[in-house]
């Protein structure tokens, strides 16, 4: 056997990541337009984001139904005609609702853009919200919600979010599939008219976006559409539940879902990057404390993860796992024990060093190719951050000390502040 096998080959650390910002122009209609040129294939991706998420709803599910209705008809075309054109050119059109922003994206071969861009413009600028399509989608969504209500994992996460934010908070998911009965066509349409206008849009174009494609985009989306809506909303009150521990019974479950966590500061807070590092150590990668303990050591779960979910106006620290039903209490105990260890003990450098390299590698990945770069920059700008935030993350990954990590754990992983939701068999 060759002797070189006995020791690990030398490794090079990631030295530099190019955070070259996308080209920017403000279109006459007020849309902020970013371009990321690159890639190996003649493919273009357009991503529109509108400040139109659940945050802006006047009542629940309007935002989701508005997003679903975008491609379901315009004053000149039926849903079927639109679908037929998109499918004929082999393109992918997605309209997705989310918490702060809603998205409309198109992925297409460059050669079909002359046919597809006018259609995309028509869909976004002139959606007609036909009633027939609305009812079909409402039923489809409701049925999906009925099935989802049987999945203990989703039940635990949604209950957790509702307890943390309060039932009526815009980030809180609806509590029952019956909510779909009360969302109205008018509500969804008003939501669209109020929020899907040009000055409320940001557009990222990535891939083979040469001068010709840029011109096409400006021709179709430059001049503006819709009426700016004077948006004024009171900051919704977060109404966290008094009770911090919940058990949702699902008698037939043979695994129980656990969601544990709390609200934490947003990405604008100086601790944010460090908190993300702490969360990764606890449960953010395969070698994390929770995975090592609950999966690789005890075999209690197929997977356990900790993450920080960042909204624009809030952030949530969350641990989630599905565990052997009869071992639920043991799993909860171990999870709190791992948090306690981080509060009390210093993370050894032998654990931190591979983690630092791993995270730098993931960071490099986030900027590999035009589509990944587009995603990274759009999340950055959406959160209202500047490119310096990436440097701050790199700095945090490279230099945070075990003492600082322990201090962060003491600040943010206090067991008294944690909400614990279990769903399954008691």
């Amino acid at each position: 056997m060759n002797t070189f096998r006995k020791i690990a080959p030398p490794v090079h650390s990631v030295e530099k990541i190019d955070f070259i910002e996308p080209e920017h122009q403000l279109l006459p209609g007020g849309t902020s337009f970013f371009t990321l040129y690159g890639g190996t294939q003649e493919v273009v991706k357009l991503d529109f984001s509108f400040k139109a998420g659940t945050w802006f709803e006047t009542s629940k599910l309007e935002s989701m139904m508005a997003a679903s209705m975008i491609s379901e008809g315009t004053s000149g075309k039926t849903a079927r005609q639109i679908a037929d054109r998109i499918d004929f050119y082999g393109a992918q059109l997605n309209s997705l609702p989310y918490y702060d922003n809603n998205y409309v994206s198109l992925l297409s071969l460059k050669k079909h853009l002359p046919h597809l861009l006018p259609l995309l413009a028509e869909i976004i600028q002139d959606a007609s919200f036909p009633e027939h399509e609305f009812e079909i989608i409402r039923q489809k969504r409701k049925q999906r919600a009925i099935v989802d209500a049987e999945k203990v994992g989703l039940v635990a996460q949604r209950t957790f979010l509702r307890s943390l934010m309060g039932e009526s908070h815009p980030y809180a998911p609806v509590s029952s599939p019956e909510a779909y009965e009360s969302v109205s066509l008018d509500g969804a349409k008003s939501h669209y008219l109020r929020h899907y206008y040009s000055a409320n849009a940001t557009l990222f174009a990535s891939g083979d976006v040469d001068a010709e494609v840029q011109k096409m985009i400006v021709d179709n989306f430059g001049s503006g559409w819709g009426t700016p809506f004077p948006y004024k909303k009171d900051q919704p009150q977060v109404q966290s539940a008094e009770e911090k521990s919940f058990f949702i019974e699902r008698e037939s479950a043979n695994q129980n879902a656990l969601t544990i966590g709390k609200r934490v500061p947003t990405q604008h807070h100086p601790d944010s990057a460090g908190l993300k590092l702490l969360t990764t150590i606890l449960g953010g990668y395969f070698g994390s404390r929770l995975m090592s303990n609950l999966r690789e050591e005890k075999g209690l779960t197929y997977g356990i993860h900790a993450s920080v979910v960042s909204f624009v106006r809030d952030a949530i620290f969350m641990i989630h796992a599905e565990v052997t039903a009869e071992k639920t209490q043991e799993a909860i105990k171990e999870i709190f024990l791992e948090m306690q260890r981080l509060r009390e003990e210093l993370v050894p450098e032998t654990e931190l060093e591979p983690l630092r390299s791993f995270l730098l590698g993931r960071m490099l990945e986030d900027f590999d190719g035009p589509f990944a770069r587009s995603q990274s920059f759009s999340s950055l700008y959406e959160a209202g951050l500047s490119v310096g935030y990436f440097d701050q993350i790199i700095h945090t990954i490279k230099t945070t000390t075990p003492e600082q990590i322990r201090e962060l754990a003491r600040t943010y992983l206090d067991p008294e502040t944690m909400y614990t939701v279990a769903a399954g068999k008691r």
């Binding site: 056997m1 690159g38 190996t40 639109i82 679908a83 489809k140 999906r144 075999g299 209690l300």
Partner: protein, 416 residues
């Protein structure tokens, strides 16, 4: 077009390199010609359990994950009915770490009683999470068992029952390794920011000393021609009635695979597909309606499924879907529909050429079937299909006697 170079080492390892300088990364992908179809029917789920075990270290590597992390990389694996595939992605200048790890895994993992005991528990939790604790999670257990009587596709990769996994011993594990994990039963694909000659040199350096091994024979188990339609009805604790109908079709490399892929697109891919337009929107019989291929290398299944709209009888809905399907055996699809699905294939194939890891995984899979270069014939094989081909193949597929129907009904609804 995905350019690739190939060589074969003396021990039989096939090495394929695809260069892509647009990324700073490389992927080192090792695919073994062993999947759940190679398992003993009384010890199913073994190939997948084994995949879990190989992450517990090897002869010269104490800890795989830490080594990958130190190199700024990420790693994972998957097992299917046909194969087991491992990959590491990492910055190109750290490629030797991946070569060290994957060659050492091939040389011989470190099997311990403790590692086996823990991974058995983890896999049983996976079984529960995906198949037992999720609504509709056991559909493929039932459907495969109904459709196959002989062929090992009759059980899913996770295994027939958790007990098979629980009963695995350390001897079984070692035996499995030496009969399936060998350079002469594997394909190494290196893709990303590296040239062929450098990649071949590294392959030689790290893999050439691994001895070739005697591979367990894989007996040809042809599923006998099905001549009578089969039907199974089960009641489960789920909120909504559904059904799955499956017909036997050809393997991944057969002409009908490509034809039926297009046919399933015509029926259900995209909002302008026949199912979506007629069954979901016009007749409002379904909230979801789908047709797809199971997609294995050997002869697989063409599957149609749907969830009926509230208040619609599931049997009526199923009959209407079958009518829609059988129409393809009587009337030619239009040239417009054919052009539409071919355009989609063209776009999808081009999009598949973007990610360096996805390309590596596909190249490996094609090489396991016989020839990696076949990946570049995909476009041609789709484009040469005519409407007449589809009519003929649909008639053969949807013939009487070839159908397997699983009615998956809600226990709650049946009590109402």
């Amino acid at each position: 077009m995905i350019q690739c170079d190939k060589t074969i080492l003396k021990n039989g390892l096939r090495v394929i390199v695809h260069t892509d300088h647009s990324t700073p990364f490389v992927a080192v992908n090792v695919c073994y010609n062993v999947g759940s179809k190679h398992e003993d029917p009384i010890r199913t789920g073994f190939a997948h359990l084994f995949e879990h075990l190989t992450f517990g270290g090897s002869r010269h590597v104490a800890d795989f994950d830490t080594a990958v992390q130190m190199a700024g990389g990420a790693n994972n694996a998957f097992t299917s009915n046909d194969l087991t595939n491992y990959y590491i992605t990492l910055p190109a200048n750290n490629i030797e770490t991946a070569m060290w790890l994957e060659s050492d895994r091939m040389l011989g993992p470190k099997f311990t009683k403790k590692g086996l005991d823990v991974q058995k528990k983890v896999v049983i939790e996976e079984f529960r999470q995906r198949n037992l604790n999720k609504p509709y999670g056991d559909v493929w257990h039932l459907l495969r068992d109904l459709a196959y009587k002989v062929h090992p596709y009759r059980w899913p990769t996770i295994g027939l029952v958790p007990e098979h996994i629980a009963s695995a011993t350390l001897d079984d594990v070692k035996d499995f390794f030496f009969h399936h994990y060998a350079p002469n039963n594997a394909v190494l694909v290196i893709s990303g920011n590296i040239g062929s000659s450098d990649a071949f040199k590294l392959a030689e350096k790290w893999f050439s000393e691994i001895p070739s091994r005697e591979i367990a024979p894989y007996p040809l188990q042809t599923e006998p021609l099905q001549t009578t339609d089969r039907e199974l009805t089960v009641y489960r604790d789920v909120p909504i009635d559904t059904f799955y109908v499956a017909w036997h079709m050809g393997g991944r490399n057969e002409k009908d695979f490509y034809e039926l892929d297009l046919l399933s697109d015509i029926l259900s891919n995209g909002s302008s597909s026949r199912f979506e337009v007629k069954l979901v929107k016009e007749q409002k019989l379904f909230t979801e309606a789908d047709a797809y291929l199971s997609g294995e290398n050997e002869p697989g299944l063409f599957v149609a499924t749907g969830k009926a709209s509230p208040g619609i009888d599931i049997h009526l809905a199923r009959e209407k879907m079958l009518e829609e399907i059988l129409m393809t055996t009587e009337t030619s699809i239009t040239e417009y529909e054919l052009e539409k699905v071919k355009n989609r294939v063209e776009a999808d194939l081009l999009l598949n050429e973007i990610g360096y890891l996805e390309k590596a995984i596909q190249l490996a899979s094609f090489e396991i079937m016989g020839d990696a270069a076949e990946i570049n014939n995909q476009g041609r094989r789709y484009l040469e299909i005519t409407a007449a081909d589809l009519l003929k193949t649909a008639s053969e597929l949807f013939r009487k006697g070839n159908r397997n129907t699983l009615n998956y009904l809600s226990l709650q609804n049946s009590k109402k």
